[in-house]
Amino acid sequence: MTLHASLLGDRSASLLRRALSNRSFVIGLVIAVAVAAVALISYVWTPYDVTRLVIADRTRPPSLAHWFGTDHFGRDILSMIMVGARNSIAVALVAVGIGMGIGVPLGCLAAARGGMLDEAVMRLNDLVFAFPALLSAIMITAVFGPGALNAIIAIGIFNIPVFARVARAGALSIWPREFILAARTAGKGKILITIEHILPNIATLLLVQGSIQFALGILAEAGLSYVGLGAQPPMPSWGRMLFDAQTRMTVAPWMAMFPGMAIAITVLGFNLLGDGLADILDPRSRRRQ
């Protein structure tokens, strides 16, 4: 027991060392934590109230009073970006949750059962993949009207086949292993084996994909709210801020500058995090090191 514990301790220590020496991972983690912190802080404090319109202060360039300037209603852009972070994170997070929550069981089931069920799941994947996220969002909007919830559903549905594929491929590579055979000989059922042995072994794969899909979710949400299909005013959203900025590019370029940078940095952060995680957890890259 103690030997086991100390081995485990060694393993996590070496994992931590590898993580901290991976540049992508460290930069990605710092950005991800910073973005999450900004969103959380915005619940208790923002430099200005984002719902208050001060027409006298409209389209002011960046200054000491307004670090990122003000928009066409005199709202503080820094405060809006802080509050907008909540919306972006919430949409992307729930969309990843939907994708994982439905996609992973589907993928695991397909891998465990094979045959017709596997075929059916894969065809369902093909079907969902035929609808680019934006297209399904447009359709959902046409039916149910625009809004953050419909953006989440559209992006989430698009995530399902992504996770189903990753989970299926991962599970298929685990099933032939000896410890699975041992578990089957011990009389465990396929579902129990999936929960006890398959899932823990594909968790890292899912984590990496989750980070990438989260980044894509931020981009997709920004795109949807830019064309008016995402979060509705007065709720600040990064995409919507860019839409407002578009017609004012000549008089207030900062209105477009900062929200765009917020999106790019956030997406960059989560992509780096995903890349870094993949590097750290992939045994092949471990050998290279």
């Binding site: 039916v143 765009g260 999106i263 992509n271």
Partner: protein, 315 residues
């Protein structure tokens, strides 16, 4: 020889049929009666019923589905509720903007990405590779519509090289038309190029460690020739897969970019149609785009067999 393509084509047809059912059902449950919307609130129930009959809206669900899909196969998409012209005419007119835009963007992204991928892979770990991949990492993260705004600011507002938006039409001359598609195509292409360059690099690195590459080098074939002739060809499968997916993204991406540049393409048509509740147009355009995605992915999968002869016999 036949098994793999036949199976792949059958799958594509099944997917198409399922997709058409999804699109049809989704837009069937849309609230609001198109006949009522077309006639306005003052129309009598009798008039509405008459128009519904004319439009075939009172037919049973299954019959309407069959009528719609039968029409699609004959390229008869029905009549637009608001424009009162055949939807196919509207689509053809808008396609003349969206399709060239997506194709130019795809070409641009490939032209940029493949050399960058080759360069990075052949100088793996070097300064050039680090800079190229750092830039690519940034390119993946930048939303294309924001990049579009920056391009407008730089090239249209500041330098006055190209128009900030709008489309003069192909009748105004190919030069003028291409000029107004330049920025939208660039905005679409660069983020995709970043993704493609990363995929090309890692595929090439994988291939470059193969024995036959060493053999080719040992035979005295110059490095450049090995890269272009042997490595690139074998790295094409992942690259082609991503290009197929990208074409779908580009077509869907034109929807947003068209809105940034006020281009009269399919994307703007869809948005106008949603606002005007012209559902037959929404239904047809969505179905058309989905069909294009399915067919392009089918062609990509079939082209594997051309690139990699080993796949030809695969069931």
């Amino acid at each position: 020889m036949i098994a793999y393509p036949a199976r792949r084509i059958a799958i594509a047809i099944v997917t198409l049929v399922l997709a058409s059912i999804v699109v049809f059902t989704m837009l069937e449950i849309v609230p609001g009666d198109p006949a009522r919307i077309m006639l306005g609130m003052n129309a009598s129930a009798e008039q509405v019923a008459q128009l519904r009959h004319q439009m075939g809206l009172d037919a049973p669900l299954l019959l309407r589905y069959l009528h719609w899909t039968g029409g699609l196969l004959k390229l008869d998409f029905g009549q637009s509720y608001t424009y009162s012209v055949p939807v196919i005419d509207l689509v053809a007119e808008r396609m003349a903007v969206s399709l060239p835009l997506a194709l130019i963007a795809l070409a641009l992204s490939t032209i940029i990405a493949i050399p960058v991928g080759l360069y990075s892979a052949s100088r793996r770990g070097g300064t050039g590779d680090t800079i190229a991949m750092g830039t690519a990492q940034l390119g993946v993260a930048v939303p294309n519509f924001w990049f579009a705004l920056l391009l407008i600011y730089l090239f249209a507002v500041w330098l006055h090289w190209v128009p900030a938006g709008g489309f003069p039409g192909w009748d105004a001359g190919i030069g003028l038309a291409l000029k107004s598609l330049a920025l939208p195509a660039l905005a679409l292409a660069l983020p995709q190029a970043a993704i493609l360059a990363r995929v090309a690099r890692s595929a090439l690195i994988e291939v470059l460690s193969e024995d036959y590459i060493r053999t080719a080098r040992a035979k005295g074939i110059p490095r450049r020739a090995v890269l272009w002739r042997h490595a690139l060809r074998n790295a094409m499968i992942p690259v082609l897969t991503i290009m197929g997916l990208q074409f779908a993204f580009l077509l869907a991406g034109t929807i947003i970019i068209e809105n940034v540049f006020y281009l009269p393409g399919l994307g703007r048509l869809v948005f106008q149609a949603i606002n005007q509740r012209d559902l037959i147009v929404v239904k047809s355009v969505v179905m058309l785009l989905v069909a294009i995605v399915i067919v392009v992915n089918l062609l990509v999968d079939l082209s594997y067999a051309l690139v990699d002869p080993r796949l030809r016999g695969r069931p």
